[in-house]
Structure formats: structure tokens, C-alpha cells
């Protein structure tokens, strides 16, 4: 299964992968490149990844989701490369017999992506500057201030 793409994400493709008559609730999450007041002129984000590990970890993540919601079907794509503001970087479709399962499974997947999937982003600004982003969504500190991880 290829969870990564360098092309715009097709929501129709994801929905086709999870839809079935017995699944009456489908929840879709789209994460898009943001350019709000806090982003200071972000025109695009360049996404990069440890691609082999992303594919392996998505497989493990979806297996975990299947263990929790065995009646649900989930499809996910993460886009890499330079993505203009307003376009989707990630899409998740979760379909289940009932809406609660679909919402819960979709939320689980995006939260686990934020925690487990080795993808990084560099904000590209209208003034030509570029800044790596840390998990809190804020630009990274100077090298000497890099965090440690226990």
C-alpha cells in the first residue's frame, strides 16, 4: 500500500476505498496548508519524509486502528513536496457502520500521524524565507536550543 503521494490528493479515490453499503457513516479529515495571521505570509509548505518508515508505520498504525474498530475501513494519503497554501497535505477517510466509530477512528488516525509518522515541513514565505516547523506548529529554535527526547 502506498500511503505517500507527490500529487494532489483525490478524495474520491479514498472514499471509493472505504465505502460499502454496510458502512453508514463516513468521516473525512483534510489537513490543508495554512496561511493565517500566525503564519506570516506562508505561500507553501515543503513536506519531506523518511519515506520507507512512513509506509511501514502507516501499516502498523492502521493495524492498530483495525484492532480498535474492526468494522471500520480507513484510507489515508499524505502528500510530499511543495504544497501551496490551501491545498491538502493529508486526507483520511474512515467509514464504519455508525458515525461514532467513523469519527473516533478518523480522529485516532490523525492524532497518531502527528505522533508517529516521520514527516517534516518547511514553511516557505512570500519574502523568500524558509523555516522548519516543530510539532507545536511554531518555527524551530536555534540549533543550540534543539530539544532533547528522553
Amino acid at each position: 500500500m502506498a500511503y505517500l503521494t507527490r500529487s494532489p490528493i483525490s478524495l474520491d479515490t479514498l472514499l471509493a476505498e472505504v465505502s460499502a453499503p454496510e458502512r453508514g457513516g463516513t468521516c473525512v479529515f483534510l489537513g490543508t496548508v495554512r496561511n493565517g495571521p500566525e503564519e506570516q505570509g506562508v505561500t507553501a509548505i515543503e513536506y519531506s519524509a523518511y519515506e520507507e518508515m512512513v509506509e511501514a508505520e502507516f501499516g502498523r498504525l492502521l493495524a492498530d486502528a483495525d484492532g480498535r474498530w474492526p468494522e471500520a475501513r480507513i484510507a489515508v494519503r499524505h502528500r510530499l513536496g511543495v504544497i501551496p497554501s490551501g491545498e491538502a497535505s493529508i486526507a483520511i477517510a474512515a467509514a464504519a457502520p455508525h458515525r461514532a466509530q467513523a469519527f473516533d477512528a478518523c480522529r485516532f488516525v490523525i492524532e497518531e500521524v502527528k505522533r508517529r509518522i516521520p514527516v517534516w515541513k518547511k514553511e516557505l514565505r512570500i519574502d523568500g524565507s524558509a523555516t522548519w516547523v516543530d510539532p507545536s506548529g511554531r518555527p524551530t529554535a536555534r540549533p543550540s536550543d534543539l530539544p532533547s527526547h528522553a
Partner: protein, 89 residues
């Protein structure tokens, strides 16, 4: 501690995103005496490549495509990846 084996191991080290920029390369190899841990690999990298001292002493790490703690053991031929704070989605 889950280090395994004796002798010397050659470890492929991969760096990504900001860490690759800081060190000036995306991939290298280091030799460590066994038994050895991921933490030993990080220390060896920082010793051998001056620019690698800009990396944190305790980065996120993966061995063979799985996140591990720094006291995880390594074997000859393993791939150790040092991962900047994950920022996907």
C-alpha cells in the same frame, strides 16, 4: 539495555530534514564496538563529524524503520535514523 553480539558493527546512519541540513549530509556510516546501543551510535556520530555536534544528544531515533529508545541495541548492518521532532499532517 538490549545490545546484542560482540565484535564491530557497521551502522548506516540516516539524517532527515533539519538534521540533514545541520550535518550537511543525509547519510553516513559509523563503526561501533559491540555490544552497542543507538545512544552509542549517536555519540560516535558526534565524535566523528564535527557538524553533528549541532544535533541534540538525545534525538528521536529509529532502527530499521521502527522508533526505539536510545538504549535499544544495534547489530551489524542496522539502519539507524535520527528523526527531528515529527511534524506531519
Amino acid at each position: 539495555m538490549t545490545a546484542r553480539g560482540t565484535g564491530t558493527a557497521t551502522i548506516r546512519v540516516r539524517l532527515f530534514a533539519r538534521y540533514a541540513e545541520l550535518v550537511g549530509r543525509a547519510e553516513t556510516a559509523v563503526s561501533v564496538s559491540l555490544p552497542a546501543t543507538v545512544g552509542d551510535v549517536v555519540r560516535r556520530l558526534r565524535d566523528e563529524i564535527p557538524a553533528a555536534r549541532a544535533l541534540p544528544e538525545r534525538p528521536l531515533a529509529a532502527v530499521n524503520l521502527r522508533q526505539v529508545k536510545l538504549d535499544a541495541g544495534v547489530r551489524d548492518g542496522d539502519e539507524v535514523a535520527l528523526l527531528p521532532p515529527i511534524a506531519g499532517g
